[in-house]
Amino acid sequence: MGDVLQPSTRINLEKAVVLVLDDNGASLDILSQVVSGFGVKQLYRAESVKDAQALVKTKTFDLVISDVQMPEVDGVEFIQWLRREASEPNRYIPVILVTGHTRKPDVLRIRDAGANFTVAKPITPKVLLERIYWVAREERAFIECPTFVGPDRRFKHEGPPPGTDGRRRDDLPAEVGDAQEPNMSQEEINNLMRPAKVQVS
């Protein structure tokens, strides 16, 4: 994540099946034009969560780009449904949320929705393509637990904050303790590096 997308990089989205969801027709048109410009041939448009759910139930997608603020059912609820109730493999597809303005009560909801990235409107092709490139190279693990389903919300592997024990089995303590064994000798290190014949039976 975070790689700079070079102008000379080659990308191939011709076979990608993409769903774009936005209740505002003007915004949906902009999103669709951008995605089509990237070479996507199979683009499905939905103007409501209900329409999007119907499409997800009948087609297999490679990417979802969804607006957040929509009347009745919003983009956050749609992603929560996708992550928990949609069939595989759609349940695990990369999701990019786009939001015009984030209301205070929505900050945590969006963080916990289960999307891979959030992009601020008005979108620009450069930023959106960069995020698509990032989700295509996504290395974060997918987490499923009662309170969250989606890509790991931690981007950095810096362990838990100092002074806390962490909540996961693979969380290492922030402080490095004393060595538990004596240092290896130079000969032991050399032996590790020395080429050796291997018997293949």
Binding site: R10, G37, A120, E138, A141, E144, C145
Partner: protein, 155 residues
């Protein structure tokens, strides 16, 4: 609490690397050209929404039953297309307006003087924002941010 941690197949990752396709610079250029074709319709949508805002929430409107959600939804409609008016400052002013309406909704009370200031500023910026000296436009936006408590980069 059980936690399942795994790496599902990333089909997008596999296909984006396949032979063929296009250069990133060409993809961005094609997308920008496609978006540009929507400029006229998008600016009309912006102007129509601004007119609706003034009619429903301006000083001459009956604001006794005004709903926070309705004005917020109109603000978002402008945000959606504001990229086409970025040279005017409308894209920044509308974010300030969103923040103001959000604050009003949170407090449960309208600040009509602040709403009026934003409506006037949006109309002015839309009309002559592109011709204003950059420093004047920046000062105007800074004034809106003070009224709404908006801090660019946080929303």
């Amino acid at each position: 609490m059980s936690v399942r941690k795994f790496h599902p197949a990333n089909r997008l990752g596999a296909m984006i690397k396949q032979k063929g396709g296009m250069l990133v610079q060409n993809a961005i250029a094609a997308a920008e050209a496609g978006v540009e074709s929507l400029r006229e319709a998008s600016l009309k949508s912006l102007d129509d929404t601004l007119t609706e805002m003034e009619a429903r929430f301006g000083p001459k409107a009956d604001r006794s039953d005004a709903a926070f959600e309705d004005l917020y939804a109109l603000c978002l409609r402008i945000v959606d297309v504001a990229g086409f008016a970025s040279e005017t400052g409308v894209d920044k002013a509308i974010m300030s307006f969103c923040n103001l309406v959000d604050n009003c909704a949170e407090a449960g009370t309208w600040r009509w003087d602040s709403v009026d200031v934003h409506l006037d500023a949006l109309r002015l910026l839309r009309s002559v924002g592109a011709q204003l000296p950059p420093a004047d436009r920046a000062n105007m936006l800074e004034g809106l941010y003070r009224v709404s408590g908006f801090r660019p980069g946080e929303s």
